[in-house]
Symmetry: C2
Subunit: 347 residues, 2 copies
């Protein structure tokens, strides 16, 4: 359908999402013309068929999905739009895949200011360009006031897995070094301090970032990486526990080696939350043979998002399925999964 | 992660979705073990990595996404779960693709009864089996009471496009026959009469069904089909208008040839809605050279979902970009796009 006009009407401050925008008629077309297409237009999306079609090479594909319900939708360091793109790019990249194509499914609440929607869509377009992916197909639904909270965005993504790579959360091996790409808790604490009205004082910003370029460089240097995960919901603690359980391996981490920004640590203490349980949106946890660790660190540190990369622990023969922290005083404590309710709607 | 226990605890009537179910900790794991894995388990999903990986042949892939926000979530003839699977299967099939893999992203409202969620997940599993696709990756978020309406489901899907097929909404050709696979308005009116409290009297049920087997058979017999669409939001009227505009072609349909069930027609009259504007979830609109029409009809009528297939009109040289109905009295009226707000949250 020919839908991208030469010059769509600018969005006015008083304009909001109407139920009619979601009904598949003229209003839906107008929303496409005025907000989505100006920012997201590309050869695939412009077809406006019910599905995007593209050529793919034979091989191993990766496929992932995530719905973003973060509240508030604008937060220090980003918004729900770029978060939705980066999150799905990262879920593909940690599988050893090169992210290629994304879908975007919106649920909009009646009354959402169109100017806010436009900022979010523009952020998605910028994040996609930065990560080198294309948003090729989409969907928009509108629900009445009070039937969702502003907007939710689902992004699904397709990538092609590198032939020489076989990462999996079941691949941890005894003696592996556990590497973390940078400080923990930034994203979750940026959201929490905003909600608690503390963001101005704290200055904490989300770490939302695409990891695919750094991961590509790491795998180029060391294809034999054993496992990769981005520690989002549940934080580094949940990720390490998943790796330990999936691989039936023990993980020991060393207190003092996990980077935490001072302001994040302070906010965590104020709110009574362990930084290891707090979500990150631009961090990588990686398990690799000890002899490859320094090479991996060197590559990671060349990237902004890996500047503070560090070895935080190792895979041990003891306590399979458990994560244990060795404290500065030599004592040990179990790093457990969070039960769950501390940090709702963080992503 | 080993997550499917031998015998998960049965779901009790009083159990509901808690915020903790969405936080990536132990409660999230329990939800996976007790509700999702027993029904959806397969070799890909069981890996519980952040992405599914599978081998694909080289060629043309199709990729689509849709978020389902239908209200009520249970309706005569189906529920949001099977609708979400069938809808995405159909969006791939109408692109000439064989649907293969689906993702499922849930947004759950705190307080949703777990028994309802289980029924919906079970319906998704059955619908996937029926359509011959696998749900290979997923995501679950929980939002507080009043922050969404029960649950929303995003399904995205990947398929492989048949090599000999090139359907597109820009492919209509002068002289084509326009074929419709069956009666219009069933899904939309099943939802509307339920909302209005008329469902018992009306007996109208949704037509939600997977179209991929029928489409595969049609393309096997007549690979040269020009265009296919499933007339969902905005109904047959919106679909025909999209085809006419995209192809810069005129479409003329003949009153009396469009099948409408008596009860659907009655409900439409009662509510003041044109059945051509009402959503369908198991119907196909197809454009094909006139000489191939009878062959296509024969194939379609061998399927339950194509039993009432009929030629409803043709592509004409006049009025490019417009859809016109020729009435029984010989007069003509324009079939326009609905403006939009008649039927919110129909899918």
């Amino acid at each position: 359908m020919s839908i991208a006009p030469a010059c769509p009407l600018p969005i006015q401050q008083h304009e909001t999402v109407q139920m009619a925008h979601g009904a598949g008629g003229r209003f839906s077309q107008a929303l496409m013309q005025r907000i989505f297409m100006p920012h997201l237009s590309n050869a695939f999306l412009d077809q406006l068929d019910d599905q995007a079609k593209f050529d793919i090479p034979a091989g191993r594909a990766a496929f992932t999905t995530d719905t973003y319900v973060v509240s508030p939708v604008f937060f220090p360091g980003g918004n729900i739009g770029e978060l939705a793109v980066n999150g799905t790019v990262n879920d593909l990249a940690v599988g050893g895949a090169r992210p290629l194509y994304l879908s975007a499914g919106f649920v909009l609440e009646e009354g959402l200011p169109l100017q806010e929607l436009e900022i979010i869509v523009r952020s998605m377009a910028e994040a996609a360009r930065k990560a080198g992916v294309m948003i090729v197909t989409g969907d928009t639904k509108v629900v009445g006031r009070g039937q969702c909270d502003k907007l939710f965005i689902n992004t699904s993504g397709i990538g092609i897995v590198r032939r020489d790579v076989s990462v999996s959360c079941r691949n941890l091996r005894h003696g592996d070094s556990i590497i973390l790409s940078g400080s923990v808790g930034d994203h979750g604490m940026a959201i929490m301090t905003t909600r608690e009205g503390l963001s101005f004082q704290s200055g904490i910003t989300s770490d939302s970032a695409p990891l695919n370029a750094m991961i590509e460089a790491v795998l180029e240097a060391v294809p034999a990486v054993h496992a990769m995960r981005d520690p989002t919901r549940g934080g580094v603690a949940a990720t390490l526990n998943e790796l330990a359980v999936s691989s039936s391996a023990g993980i020991e981490i060393h207190e003092g080696t996990v980077p935490v920004r001072d302001d994040v640590r302070g906010a965590c203490e104020l709110l009574g939350i362990d930084p290891l349980h707090v979500a990150n949106e631009g961090k990588l946890v990686l398990s690799v043979a000890a002899e490859d660790a320094s090479k991996v660190l060197e590559v990671m540190r060349a990237f902004d998002c890996g500047r503070d990369a560090a070895v935080i622990g190792s895979v041990v023969a003891d306590h399979p399925g458990m994560v244990v922290m060795r404290t500065a005083f030599g004592s040990r404590r179990v790093i457990d999964l969070p039960l769950g309710e501390q940090l709702p709607r963080i992503c």
